[in-house]
Subunit: 374 residues, 4 copies
């Protein structure tokens, strides 16, 4: 079982995660984790803050001579601006944030006590944990990528573009968009929103290739891999929707057009020619590419702030302005990869055991052969 807790406030000492359950014998290249953190920081539309943070991980435990040993792995990313105790009180809760409910729930008198933890800065820890999961999945040839398909009103067109092409193009794009023309328009839309003191949201996809059939289960509701992935994605800050395969469009299709017929070739085994299901049927991975979409609302902190109520005065006032971004969909996509990686890795460990990478690989191979010979 792979599980993790995170902690840390955005102006506290650091962001932190403890990841419990990684198998022994895996080489962990710290640069790979830093690279994921760097991918998370990028994206046209991020604010000044992003430049302040040059996040580097400090692996506090769980490795010996750069190898996992079966111990829990703790990863720390220091915050450069450690000012939480000195920062002034915030008394104007921002619409769209945890601010107001957070103080009501916890009986707090300063919104800062809430926003410091509710901040998407916490995703640093989730991305670090996800980077570990990706390294594990890499041992089994499982690849996880993401790309942005809409920002504001601009939609990308990527039908028919291959996984590897999408990966390459998105990685090069300042808005993580695999459609160059759309990317240019997205940048314009971001510039316009910024100049107007406004913010943008959008939609991204996470694609996962190389997953064996049979992760997750239909046997009990809480073991369904789509439910598990949906929880992981929906729990990313500002995400308001998640879907698989055709997503919400599946509702308007006919059964005869939507379901992916089954084919077989001796060398390949069972396979599909279409993937409307997005790689998941019956709460299980079916061996095809997993396709996840998620929608992110526009950033809730506006330079031209919304109207709110002062928590002491109970009078109308403009909401507090923390330094912030115009658009963070490209970053959210990277975070989406990370949290998906963790859940897939957990499902792999559940299915194949995982005290050592040797054992896990042996069990995995046995199963793959079993499926092939079915």
């Amino acid at each position: 079982m792979l599980r993790y807790l995170t902690s840390g406030e955005s102006h506290g000492k650091c962001m932190l995660t403890i990841v419990d359950g990684m198998p022994a014998g895996l080489v962990i290249d710290r640069a790979k984790i830093d690279a994921e953190l760097s991918r998370r920081m990028q994206g046209y539309g991020r604010g000044k803050r992003m430049k302040l943070e040059a996040d580097k991980v400090d692996i506090l435990s769980g490795l010996r001579k750069s190898k996992t040993i079966g111990s829990p792995i703790a990863i720390m990313v220091k915050n450069i601006d450690h000012s939480i105790d000195r920062l002034p009180a915030v008394l104007e809760p921002r619409p769209g944030h945890a601010d107001l409910t957070g103080i009501l729930k916890h009986d707090l008198k300063d919104v800062r006590d809430v926003l410091e933890r509710a901040s998407a800065r916490d995703t640093v820890a989730r991305v670090a944990a996800g980077a570990l999961a990706k390294i594990l999945l890499g041992e089994f040839g499982i690849k996880i990528i993401s790309h942005v398909t809409t920002i504001g009103t601009v939609e990308a067109e990527t039908k028919g573009v291959e996984f590897s092409q999408i990966a390459m193009k998105a990685e090069k794009s300042p808005v993580r968009c695999a459609d160059l023309a759309a990317a240019a328009l997205m940048i314009k839309e971001i510039d316009k929103a910024r100049s107007e003191g406004d913010t943008l949201g959008g939609i991204f996809k996470v694609l996962i290739k190389g997953v064996p059939p049979g992760l997750g289960s239909y046997a009990q509701w809480d073991r369904r891999i789509d439910g598990i992935l949906a929880k992981a994605i929906m729990s990313i800050q500002a995400i308001k929707g998640v879907s698989f395969g055709m997503g919400f469009d599946v509702g308007s299709g006919r059964g005869s057009a939507v379901h992916d017929e089954i084919f077989y070739e001796r060398t390949k085994g069972f396979f599909r020619k279409t993937n409307n299901a997005g790689g998941i049927e019956g709460g299980m991975t079916n061996g095809e590419e997993i396709v996840i979409q998620a929608v992110m609302k526009p950033i809730s902190t506006l330079k031209k702030p919304l109207s709110t109520i002062g928590i002491r005065t109970k009078k109308r006032i403009l909401a507090s302005v923390e330094r912030s971004d115009v658009c963070a969909v490209p970053a959210a996509a990277v975070i989406g990869e990370a949290v998906s990686a963790i859940e897939i890795a957990n499902a792999m460990l559940e299915k194949f055991g995982g005290d050592s990478i040797l054992e896990m690989r042996r069990n995995y191979k046995g199963y793959i052969e079993q499926v092939r010979k079915f």
Copy 2:
């Protein structure tokens, strides 16, 4: 903590759930649970099977003189057609179902071993558990309703319609749709699909009113109420997407237009005039109506079956045909209510404790007063 397991196969003896964690002192009217099961069975577009099932619950444990006593509650619904051991083998896995992956995963040689459990018949147990949760929530004035907003290509228009109006209209509609004109078109679309041996999906909404602010938490990713609800909904058979508030449309809005400004009146406390967030901000309920959308794919079992591969012969063949429905979106909406009710009830118990309804109510009132006086 409220937790539950279900069991049962669609042609086994019964469908079953054990619900652990209900507070003591709650009157359970069995007729209310039966009524929820009856709501689940209805909906234009269901097949003959639905007529066979006149589901009635048998409460096996957890009550004394019709009251909860703090014990786990077991609910059984008998299957009329208990033929699982006699039914013939199924060798043609249906696209869109758990069939193929299920046998590969579990090393089974008969698809029936899979489809019996993967069947949406299991939602009988979840609806029964949800009915208990609804009774508990009713003590706190929390109401959960649902309505169908699209079937196939027909979309309903319900902007501006009040909660109680939607409840009433949807309840009367054979397709659980609160827009009468659209409902008529939906029925036509279902008739057309049936005559063509095809199936339909669609979109439904679950609305929850009267939820206090502060259920869920931003403090740890897995405690976010939106993630928790998303998992519960996505784990319903055939659901491929879930969203809150504006749903996927939120991605194209501007921050200034999307976020719900905060207002205050002495008698009401803090409130909003808009509800684009769908009642959830920062992973917590904010006290406004919770609005969930979910998309259901068209039923995977087609009268005019899709092409597949025989699992013994490895040759192309038509998929197996189990008796089935043309469209089950209205039923899915009712199931959506049930699973949401369970998660909200659990969040209530987590926040307010729950050894007795007396204690839970006292703690709830104390908090509501605390929030009002904030």
Copy 3:
């Protein structure tokens, strides 16, 4: 993952369990489960009640043609005396029971609301679940037995007696004691206590043979197999202590005398000649026989009742008398086997995966070979 919930009141309709996570492909002989229930009912010192109950299981779900299919398995045992709603109120809480705290906790006005669920009758469900676990463990040559080592002041002497001898002798003994002379004295002690309206407790051991090394983990506190087993055993009604290997005597030994030196033979691999650790070191099974002791307090319901306080009158009164046993240590031993079996089965599934018995066996064999070749 193997998990289970139980439900049921002692005079309710039935005792019930849902066991989630059993691998597919396992033949379940119902007679084996009935046999375990029968073992649980036996033991010199049980009251009349035991004769009333001829517990037979009804498997409600999870099997097809007597084989597991990966579905959750529900097992029901009907109560012959289903009178819970008609039985009179109990107003005199019995010392040693959940009675008093149960009503305070749950705001109940009738002790019967508590004692119906708190009753050890619930262990019927745990024994049924344990019987499934034993069948699974049997596939791997793992055997679980138990014997009673003390009842009241009578201690058995079984030093040097082999596992199979203990199993055979205990099984034949009316007090599940492998020392014939002690067994005779135990029976006398029980007779004496009965004639005096009093009750007895005692100590039993659970022995588990054939467990591979490496179940459990030192990596995180809550994954230690000794902690997990201790929780399972301590949660049996009336158990007040649990220990491994030398038990509490280990505290007075010297390190040089207590620890089990390590040996090696090419054919056997690593092994020990002593087993003071009781098969567990560092929170993991070490491949030697697991030895668990547990102490059971004397039955709390006395024919010659203790003094208590009437919950309405608040006056001193004699405690309520439910029909009961003089001594139930032999039964507790059987229950100890069951709950241990479940935890070991869960640890096996965690280590070896378990979607099918084919897969689990393959993974198990691979690991055993890996250990042998180390």
Copy 4:
């Protein structure tokens, strides 16, 4: 819900814990946590290592201006000797440790990869987490103390000594023993064992005063507070047995002598004059003092090492000698307090909710009054 993970190796950078679920509004005095760590380090019989470590906590997250804010709290304790990557391989697994099984389980070739995490050094993190729990419990007047009752063959006599006397005497004693005469003999026994290159174990008690009735539950096996506490205690390194109240002696008592009769006084409510149950009946706290005993085996690392097998050579050899202690029972007692505190705090949060200390206190008071007025 209070939950925590720990990480860290004994010669790694640090020991770490993330504690999730502490209510907001609690003042955390870091000195109190340091004081608990200091208590853990003390005790006659500890080796040189203890002098090297002057453990001080670094609170990495979860506080603002020394107050909890509802965020997870991360606590780090640095290791002075951070040499894990440079330390030589260990090839001689020590009997009584995780050493041998650890390398077999994880496919490791160096015992050091195991012993670094399996080390009781991890209890630093558990004691830090426990210190937080103690601060929370202190708000409700709940006190947790411990004392050593046997070391080797020396037994203390503390019958009739009051809670506060035991606390005071144990705290002053170099062996945490409340019986001065016995303490002197224990010190002698330790000196003797040290001079002979041997080690000692013993028994300690944890006492918890001020716990309200009704924590835990009889309703489901895994919610019993005795099972939960037993798991927490048994998962401390080197603990081989745990019991409540009379412990294993309860097995030889008669029911009439063992159970604690119930009394009532208007001002006190229900109470007992005896406490053989150790404060737990029916899987719940009954409001009396919780009394836990645990036995610790002698330290497994001996100066005069045991015989073992070289993992490369497969030849007999003396076990590896890490610097170590002669006796650590006093330290284990402090750790026992910590892990018990965490579980009691979790049970309090479960019963009373816990988003803020204000709310938790209000709910607690409401319940206490409910119980008093019963």
